[in-house]
Amino acid sequence: MVAVSTAEQTDPTLAEDLPLLSSPEVARFVAQGALVFEGLVPEEVNATAVEQLEQGAPAVRYGASIPEAFPAGTLGATLIALPRVAGALRSLLGPAPQVDHHAVHVRPPHGGEAQALHADAIIDARRDAFDVQLMYYPRDVTLEMGGTLSVPGTHLRQINESDIGRYHNMLGQTRLTCPAGTVVLLHHGIWHGGRRNDSGTPRYMYKIRFNPTVRQQRWWDVSDLDDPRVAAELDARQPWMEQASGRLEIHNRVLLWRELSGDPTFDIDYWVHRVTNRPGTREEA
């Protein structure tokens, strides 16, 4: 592994002794497409973040390393240097992910329309890799402020951007409310949208998208790989899931977990084994 560094700084995801995610936490990300860290960022960072965000997001080269994209002192560098953020990014993406892009989203008071429900970028057919989007909220977000709408468990569905705009609401959706300093990590495919801000307070959100640079396999703390909570997380249905296709979601989560864990035999309720069982040949039968 080659350490990515500049004269002043090293990629925080390469640090020793990072607090890595547990297997149940990674399983929850595979099942829900999101992990929430409420109030993670210290108040002293939140206090100055809005001032930085109001200056916009400086241009960053697609595919830049973290030290290249975020020089010391920038908000991006500060967030990624938080051990729990660096540890979670390393757990999900592996070391030294690239920065895809970053952006500042501001919803003015009583302004703007709700975004159509969408997945970012374009349709993404990868089944054995994913990007992670970090969303940071420097101030408290109330229901009236139009916190991000997202739908847990939708990230493995193959849709193209806002084609799903006619879905206004889905059972089990999350209309984010959170304390200042909250960080949310999202699978790139999750269905989401910025809600209309009906309050008198502007809402700020800072987003960074990361791309993996290594195979995403066993980068978290795998000492608890056999924890029964792994299967429980992966088997948890969402209220919006249809009766039949909800079963396909479990099947598809099993396939992703096999990729991430390196265990080609993992299964839940025999869903994958059953439909891939083709023993021997007819002559042998």
């Binding site: 193959q158 889905m170 919006w240 009766q243």
Partner: protein, 102 residues
């Protein structure tokens, strides 16, 4: 062909369409609602993304009982070969309307 500029639309009286889309748990109208959207041709309301956590009706039949008229339902289509396990759009989409005098 002659192109003419249509007269500006002015709010007037007459029938207007309200449209409701319900997404059900299976292809039967008495199945549970799992997602929904609505549009109001009267202009009285402006439904939008993320404006409610509870569905307007528990099932498609409940919408019928409240006077909504079904005008379109998703056909049942087999998966394309090789894509049997892919998931994408919600499958069981039902469009309803109400005609409202304004």
């Amino acid at each position: 062909m002659t192109l003419t500029t249509p007269a500006p639309t002015t709010p007037g009286t007459g029938l207007r369409q309200q449209v409701l889309a319900l997404y059900l748990s299976n292809s039967s109208l008495d199945a549970a609602v799992v997602a929904w959207g609505a549009w109001d041709g009267t202009g009285a309301t402006r439904p939008t993304a993320g404006d409610a956590d509870e569905p307007p009706y528990a099932t498609g039949v409940e919408a019928l009982l409240d006077g909504w008229r079904l005008f379109q339902a998703s056909p049942l289509q087999p998966p394309a070969p090789g894509h049997e396990y892919d998931t994408s759009f919600l499958k069981h989409e039902f469009f309803f309307e109400k005609l409202v005098e304004v």
